[in-house]
Symmetry: C2
Subunit: 496 residues, 2 copies
């Protein structure tokens, strides 16, 4: 073992940060699931204090010096990868002056707060008043990050969510998808026009939905000694790798959404639950990125969860909770879960139209951050692209148009691509898996998901942040992200 | 407003501590109620890191200097009380050298851990091996605290839990109780020998027990927008004043314990929920002490909860959940909840024999800390006192004797008196309340508990840590703690 005093000091510092982030995760989870209303102000103050502490530790000048010293030490490959991730966290916290961080946080909070009533009121003009400032500050942030990283402003924002990716690459990939997606949607719509789909008849008692969800989680390998399922207004996957907490929300009239939502969050949770234990506490031990995280939830929700073989296994569980219904026939369940219907709302979109929502947002936010358009231009662009990609008319309907998402209200630009990158990674994983193990579909149909879990574990979970995303994907699948797999998956499922 | 820069700096520092303690409280609550087994190591590490942070802020030399400077500033009475409480926290953290704190924490953890298996094995000799070190370090701690405070070693430990109290005073009061308690127990036992008590017949479904508990909490004024009821292995009251979290455990065979446990914890919770909002975040705004806290839970559990008028109101709620049973008649419920039976175990003891368990522990731990006896002497003393106070033979039965409590295993000496001081404060409050409002019993019997809540709020809750305990009691009741009220309460209830 080489003598690495600076690196050793860093591992101690990041171990401490990991512990404070544990408290942040649990207090945040509690806030969304357990906390009564009157606890909110004190919780917000406590979490802000903790953020300040963490930020203070990341901006301690001694940390930067230690990172510089460690870079000259003789480190092995894993240590070097750990140091690369330490540096990323350090840069993210240190690139921006405090005043900008504070101004953006305030402007974002103001814009988001007002948006909560402006969206139902369809008030784009009112929104714009706050949003202009959010855009201005986000551009300033992007510029500073870009200068330091030597990339374009928008790429500098992407770097926070998908290290190794850049907008030219995404533009190339999304551009390719755009050449065939609208046509494919039209083809599938025409095919499905003649298909009968039987809707399940509710109500579906919450406790039975919960029991069903827990059973499906167990079959998907969720470790209940290292995690929980609870309820929150907006479902999420939180907690820590040692204690992974996912949530859902139940609708008495429809169990299918909550059920597939639970499958989705279980994908996130299994990634966290299977991060390698020997790296835990170090930056190298964290999940890779937003896009890779989403590729796990979508491997579960889209690849495995909507697999006809999987749905055939779930059907008897549904019947055991809710009795016999024609809607619960496996073929009908598969039709229910693959119904394609262009609509206004991203979060309600099906697998096939979802990428169109993301591509549209990517194109708009890239142009906005790079200064090619202004906030005022968004509605017209939105209308034009919704018409072009999905044939949907959103004119004058801001509520269900450009005001629908929370992401932009607080300046989280660069996040949207992760959703569709995740879906495409997932399709590429399964293409690889099928090539390596041709019997995988038969095994899934027989209720044996081990090939899927083993593959994900070997190629993604166990790798944590050892590699940047493009290298991780290349090692796992033998090539860079290639939209051909996503297309083949969609054509096989929706036209096959 | 006088110019008080040092004091102002202190309020900022203690506000930050309050926020970190908020996270400590919530993460601790989660650990006991929600956390799955595999989360434990990471949680313990995160909480230890947070304790270290809090300790570091309390031992920052700048804090001590600022306290000294603030003492020379022109403060008003409330600020001076706040400063007194700041100083107490600062002293508690700074009086001991780090090495002693660490050694005691290690020895306590080792002793407690081994105790968990030594107690069921009745292994006093094995326990003694670890316990001697805990005693040695506790004496060292007491000596250091005593030197700084100018009191006796044991008094210095009491000071942590009941500031303003001392062992001479407790000895005088407990000594008086000892003159009449064994005789009273015998008298009551003779009287109850001829009373028929009907036991409720289970099972009692957990969800119904929970519904009953929630209903009783609501009647007792628990604010559900500022707190919760959950389940834990050992019931406790936790959380924060803004978000007060109490727990219980349910036994399907017996609902009466959980029900009265919930009444007890609701008393703790209402104290926290009604601490004055304008002081929150400052040491003056915290609950006064362990004894005063216990006086709130016992005002609820013993004074109000076992009041025949209250039990008559609860009886229909019990019937609504569990149907009709002869055991649910109000008079029978009152007999059930006032049954006196000397036994081995403190936590299972009834209202009348409980003080004997506490007095015994107080006498032994005081002598132990002040060096009059050694750890080896405990079993013989225990046997002798159990025989004298309760007529119970504990010889050779360490498991149900001196090994039964967790408190001594980690060196929490000085805590036990709080339980009985709390019961005596509560009796004195109600004596005062009856003197001031002679119709209070009639109003309780009519289901109107407002006089009780209003009195506690005006005299205790709203006072927070404005006064040290003896002054708080004097202001609330017009006199110092006086065991005559406790005796009168017990005689009226058990012989009346």
């Amino acid at each position: 073992m080489p003598h690495t005093p600076a690196f050793q000091e860093l591992t101690g510092r990041f171990q401490r940060l990991y512990r404070f982030e544990h408290l942040q995760a649990i207090a945040g989870w509690d806030q969304a699931t357990m906390m009564p209303a009157k606890g909110n102000d004190a919780r917000a103050a406590a979490l802000a204090e903790l953020s300040l502490l963490i930020h203070g530790q990341l901006t301690d000048p001694a940390l930067g010096e230690t990172i510089h010293r460690a870079e000259d030490e003789a480190l092995d490959d894993e240590q070097r990868a750990d140091l690369r991730e330490m540096r990323r966290q350090w840069e993210a916290a240190n690139l921006l002056p405090e005043a900008l961080v504070e101004a953006k946080s305030l402007a974002g909070a103001r814009c988001e707060h007002a948006w909560r009533s402006q969206r139902p009121a369809n008030d784009w003009a009112g929104f714009l008043e706050n949003f202009r400032e959010v855009v201005r500050l986000s551009r300033e942030e992007a510029k500073l990050r870009a200068d330091a990283l030597g990339v374009s402003p928008y790429d500098a924002l992407i770097y926070q969510y998908e290290p190794g990716m850049n907008s030219a690459e995404i533009e190339r990939i999304f551009g390719e998808v755009k050449t065939w997606l609208p046509g494919l949607i039209a083809q599938v719509r025409a095919k499905q026009a003649n298909e009968a789909v039987i809707a399940p008849v509710g109500p579906f008692a919450i406790d039975k939905q919960r029991a069903l969800g827990l059973e499906v989680m167990a079959r998907l390998g969720f470790d209940f000694d290292g995690g929980r399922l609870d309820v929150s207004a907006h479902p999420f996957s939180g907690g820590t790798p040692e204690d992974s907490r996912i949530t859902t929300r139940y609708n008495e009239a429809d169990f299918t959404q909550s059920l597939m939502g639970i499958v989705h969050e279980t994908g996130h949770a299994r990634y966290e639950q299977n991060l390698p234990r020997h790296w835990l506490g170090q930056p190298i031990g964290l999940a890779r990125s937003m896009g890779v995280h989403e590729s796990q939830s979508l491997s579960f929700e889209m690849q495995l969860g909507r697999h006809p073989g999987f749905l055939a296994q779930v059907a008897p569980l549904i019947r055991a909770q809710f009795g016999e219904q024609p809607a619960f026939e496996p073929d009908n369940l598969a039709r229910l879960y693959t119904r394609v219907e262009p609509g206004y709302i991203r979060v309600d979109a099906d697998e096939l139209t979802y990428p169109a929502h993301v591509i549209l947002r990517f194109e708009i936010e890239r142009a906005l951050i790079d200064g090619e358009i202004e906030a005022e231009d968004i509605p017209a662009l939105w209308d034009e692209k919704m018409q072009a990609y999905l044939g949907v008319d959103t004119r004058g309907n801001y509520r269900d148009g450009c005001l629908q998402d929370i992401h932009w209200t607080d300046g989280s630009f660069g996040y949207f691509p992760s959703y569709t990158l995740g879906a495409m990674y997932a399709a590429q994983y399964f293409a690889t898996l099928r090539r390596q193990q041709p019997d995988v579909d038969a095994r899934i149909a027989a209720g044996d998901y081990a090939p899927v879990f083993d593959w994900l574990n070997a190629n993604i979970w166990s790798q944590a942040s050892r590699w940047e995303t493009p290298e991780l994907i290349r090692r796992a699948t033998g090539e860079a992200l290639n939209p051909v797999h996503f297309r083949a998956h969609l054509e096989a499922r929706y036209l096959g």
